[in-house]
Every structure is written in C-alpha cells, then in structure tokens.
C-alpha cells in the first residue's frame, strides 16, 4: 500500500523582474509516495531547482501560488516558524555544489550538529557528538573523529558532498530532495554518492525527489520521472514507460541526445530554453522549438493528458511528432539558422 507523502497542486512560483512577476514554475502538479524516488529532469533553466526550492520554502523573494501538501500540511501558507520546524527535520535537501554549500568558518562537526541542536534540543552534548560520528560513518567518511574537527577547505569535493548528505539525513527526513547531487563530482564519486542516497532511502523509507539533467542517473535511480520544460511538467511516467515509450517531443529529443552504442550521429532539436522573461505564456511552450509542426497540432491551452494509467503528456503535439522523420528537417533547420 503506497502512502502519499507529498502532493503538489497547481504550483506557480514567480519572481519579480522589474515591475512584473514571471513564473519560473508554472502549474506544476505531482505526487510523491513514501519510499519512492521521483526523478525530475530538464535542461538548465527549466525550473527544476526553482521547484525544489519551492518545496523547501527556500525562496526568499518569490510569490508562490497553489498548494504543496506535505503530510497534509500546506507549505505554501505556513508560518516561517512552522516551516523551520519541518526543514532539516521531516524534509531535507542535498545541495548541488559541495564546494560552496558548507560554511567555511565552521568545523564539520558543528555544521552537522547544528541541525540536531535545532530539532533534537533534548540531546546531550555527548549524544549529539556520537550521532554526528555515526552519521559521518554512515556516509562513508573515513576517520570520522578526525573529520569532526576539520574545516570544509580541508576536505575534497566528494567528502564535502558526503558531509552535506550527512546534514540532510541527520534527523531521518521523510522527504529528501537531492538537487543535482552529483553534478559537481567526478565519475567515481558520482556512483558512490548515488549508491549512498539509494541505500539511505531504503533504510529510512523516505520519499526522494532527485533533480538532475543526467538521464543515466534517472534510469538508475528513479521509480517515476517527470520531465520539465520552461517551468512546466511536459511528461510524467514511471521510469520504464518513459524510457521505452516516450511521448512528448521534448522527452524524445532528450533521450536521443544521449549517445548510444552504434549511433554515429546525435539527433538534436535546435534552440535553447527561453529565459524567464521571454517564455511564451500562451499555447504550447515547446512549439517554437519544433516550428515545422503545424500550429493546429498544438492545443490552445495545453494540459496534461493521461494517455495510459500513470503516464501524462502535455499538449497534443506529440501525436504529430515523428522524430526519425523530422530529425533531418531539424538539422536542416539548424543549418539555416546558423547561416
């Protein structure tokens, strides 16, 4: 029996640029169950991190609309004090860049202890130190007693990422958000960190939101995958369906942009994710990347369609998109652009 841990309904997170608000996350709805890994993929600027920060309530100057129900509590309209009780305790986050995410002037032990002090004030100093050493051991840091008294600059990137994970799991969170946890690491460290996150998830039964632009990571880790483009979810399905039977043109172009064996040419769709101020706010946001499709292929106001149980696709344009045939045209299109 699966239990709903997190339910996001029509979330819209907007930032103010000049006098206007621009939505970085627009109409995002999704659910996460306990002991489930939901992968969120998309290019840079697609709103993945903005979504993660919204869930943690970490945006300091954003307007948030919609609901984020975490264990039944709505995080969007919660008081800062209540939010602080949740953060670091029931929900926690692993950050992208281990080199900047730790306070350079604080000992490692103190940085991990802080989250215990905030949420487990009844712990004695001795208990706290024991727990920190235990956490450091759990995340695979050798000589934890020694590292306890070290400063971040004395540790390697991989070690620092382990410390950040230790901070996140210190209070056994029910929800763990990993925001590109391996992007800044080398390949050996990446595999180890992913193994670690998976193991911790299985031990604690937490729900994990794994944000990444690495499809290999998603295939390996996730149970379900949401694909984001320009602040919206364009496709969401379980991991097998998504890789076997991708529907949305964007998902398909993402999948073909990963080199596979025996493939000598990468099929790509030209163009980039438009910036926040230049997003098309009406119609299908992907339309301008596939201009050869007739505008009648798109919905006027694209919504997510459930095309098979648990598999949602936004807009109707996927029905008319045939990548193998269009790919040539896409490249021709790219050539004409560069000329």
């Amino acid at each position: 029996m699966t239990q709903k841990l997190l339910e996001i309904k029509n979330l819209k997170t907007s930032f103010r640029i000049g006098d206007e608000y621009y939505a970085a996350v627009d109409d995002v709805s999704l659910t996460l169950n306990k002991n489930e890994v939901l992968g969120i993929v998309g290019e840079s600027g697609s709103g993945k991190s903005a979504l993660a920060f919204s869930i943690m309530g970490l945006h300091t100057r954003a307007k948030m609309e919609g609901n984020i129900l975490f264990n039944g509590k709505d995080i969007v309209n919660i008081s800062p004090a209540q939010l602080n009780q949740l953060r670091g305790d029931e929900m926690a986050m692993i950050f992208q860049d281990p080199l900047t995410a730790l306070n350079p002037l604080m000992e490692i032990g103190a940085q991990i202890s802080e989250t215990l002090i905030l949420h487990r004030p009844e712990m004695s100093q001795k208990e706290r130190k024991d727990r920190v050493i235990e956490l450091l051991t759990m995340v695979g840091i050798p000589r934890p007693e020694y590292v306890y008294e070290q400063f971040p600059h004395e540790l390697s990137g991989g070690m620092r990422q382990r410390v950040i994970i230790a901070i996140a799991i210190a209070n056994r969170p029910e929800l763990l958000i990993a925001d590109e946890p391996t992007t800044a690491l080398d390949v050996t460290n990446q595999a180890q960190i992913l193994d670690l996150i998976r193991k911790l998830k299985n031990d604690m039964g937490s729900g994990v939101i794994l944000i990444t632009h690495d499809l290999g990571v998603v295939a390996e880790m996730a149970d379900r995958v949401a694909v984001m483009y320009a602040g919206q979810i364009v496709e969401i399905a379980d991991v097998f369906t998504l890789f076997e039977n991708p529907k949305h043109p964007y998902t398909r172009s993402l999948l073909t942009s990963v080199p596979a064996e025996g493939q000598d040419k990468l099929l790509v769709i030209q163009g980039i994710v438009p910036s926040l101020q230049h997003l098309p706010r009406e119609g299908c946001r992907f339309a301008e990347r596939i201009p050869w499709l007739d505008s009648s292929a798109h919905e006027e106001d694209p919504v997510l369609h459930e095309i098979e149980p648990g598999h949602f696709v936004r807009c109707t344009c996927y029905k008319h998109f045939h990548f193998q045939d269009e790919a040539k045209e896409a490249q021709v299109h790219g050539d004409t652009r560069s000329k």
Binding site: P104, L105, M106, E114, I164, I167
Partner: protein, 320 residues
Amino acid sequence: MWKFIVRRMLTTFPQLILLSVIIFLMAQAMPGDALTGLVDPNVDRAAIEEQREKLGLNDPWHIKYADWVSGLLQGDLGQSFRYKMDVTDLIEQRLINTFWLAVATLLFTYIIALPLGILSGRYNDTLLDSSITGYTYIGFATPLFIFALVMLWVFGYQLQWFPTGGSVAPGLEAGSMDYILSKVNHLLLPALSMALIQTVSTVQYLRSEIVDTKQKEFVVTARAKGASETRVYNRHIFRNSLLPIAAYFSYEITLLITGTIFVERIFSYPGMGQLFLDSIVQRDFSVVTAVVLLFGLAAILGALVSDIILSIIDPRIRIK
C-alpha cells in the same frame, strides 16, 4: 593557530628594524646635530670639534645607529632641545593620553559601525539602508578637521556639554574618582568626533560584505537545516562578514594616528599628535624622531593584531 601567531610575530622584527633604520637615516639627513644651537657661539670651534669627537658624532653611521638603538632599547630616546628634559619623560604622560583617546575612538567606531553595518546589510535597499548609506556618504565627504571644529563649537562652546580643551580639569588629585571622570569627560568629544567620521568606511565594508555573504550557498544550507533568520544571521552571515573588518583594522590604526594629530590640535588635547606638531614647528628633532618611531610602532603592531584576529576568525589562513 599558535604556530601562525608565533610566525606572524617573528615577521614583525624585520619590520621594526627597517622602521628604525629609515627613521635614523631621515634624522641624520636633517641639518645640524646635538650641539648645534646648544653651544655658545663664542666657544672655540676646535673645542666644539673635540666635543663632537668625544660624543661620537663623527663616527660612521652604522656605529651611530648601533648607539642609538642600544639607547632605544634602554628607553633612552634622547634629550628634547626645547624642554631640556629626557624625551622619554616628556612623552610618557602624552602617550598615556593619546592611548586612551585612541581606545575610546576605536570603541566608538565599532559601537557605531557594527549595528549600522548589520542593519544596512540585512535590510539592504530599504529606507533604513538608504539613510545609513546616506550617512556614510556624508562621512566620507566631510574632512575630519572641519567636522571636529563644528563639534567643538556646538557641543563645547554653544551647548557647553563638554570641556573645550585639555585632558583633565586642573586641581584634581591624580588617581581619584573625580580625576578619572574628568579625564573621560575630556576624551568624549574628540573621540566621538573622530569615530563618527572614521567609522563610515567600516560601516560600508560590513554592509557590502553582508549583502555579499547572504547570497552564498551555505546560507541556504543553514536555512534548509531549519535555522531561523536570526540564527542564520548571527551564526553564519555575521561571522563570515567580519573578515574584511578584521583586515581593515590595521588601516584603522593608521587612520587613528593621523586623526589624533588633527583632533588633538583642535581640542588642545595634550597627546602625541599635539606634541608631534609642536616639535616640528619648534625644530625639536629628537622629539619628532621619537614620536614618528612610536607612530610607526603603533602601525606595525596594528597590522600584527589585525592578522591575529583574522587567524582567529578564519581557519583557512592558519598553519597546521
């Protein structure tokens, strides 16, 4: 950390030696010597020459330097031509006066700078921030010697809240409570005048550093741990923003020295700055040399203290 402090202290020795050499050579370059002007012009030149030989004034410079330094080490700064007394005795009381003036100024400087800088940085781009930044611009634009005069005129002469000169009221017994209070009362106005002007750069450094630090990622980490905004500021942002303030401390000492020269003159406060100006005007060179030496010493020690504070705050510059 001790390793760093010891090593840092060792590096002050070459600095001190260099300072003494430069001051000695500059003193040598000044016209005349200890006998010029002291001796009756009717005395036979040969007798003077004999005296010079006896006093070692004809020795090569390195021997004279060695003599001078060995005198310094024994606390012998020479004789004042004008006051006809040992420079050491002349300086002693003034040094104490200036020391307390400097301490009071530093105290006021940081009492003003820390809250203003923190408020301005935390609530940047608000009305509060704009008013504080406005004050710093005015502070940058106002010359200390004019501001001190205005303060003296308003609070000394017009309102008569503070004494207008001296370091202590006459007729009080040294060491008594009244004496100490009178000393403090004489300090306040010059110290405040100097602090109000010199604090503005510290305010600005602190503000921009806090604005900078609060966008760093470890601050987000702290928030994600569930730390309240107050805790985030006190534990994470503030300490990381102190680094440039600590580094600026050594320059603050130098500013203080130049500041006391103006302020002591304006408030007729009998301290080193006042003595420095007087002795230059009166060509009392042994006093000038001694005062410059002490100013230089203060600047070197300021840099030392500044580096030690930095090493206490920032583990990255300690040597393991």
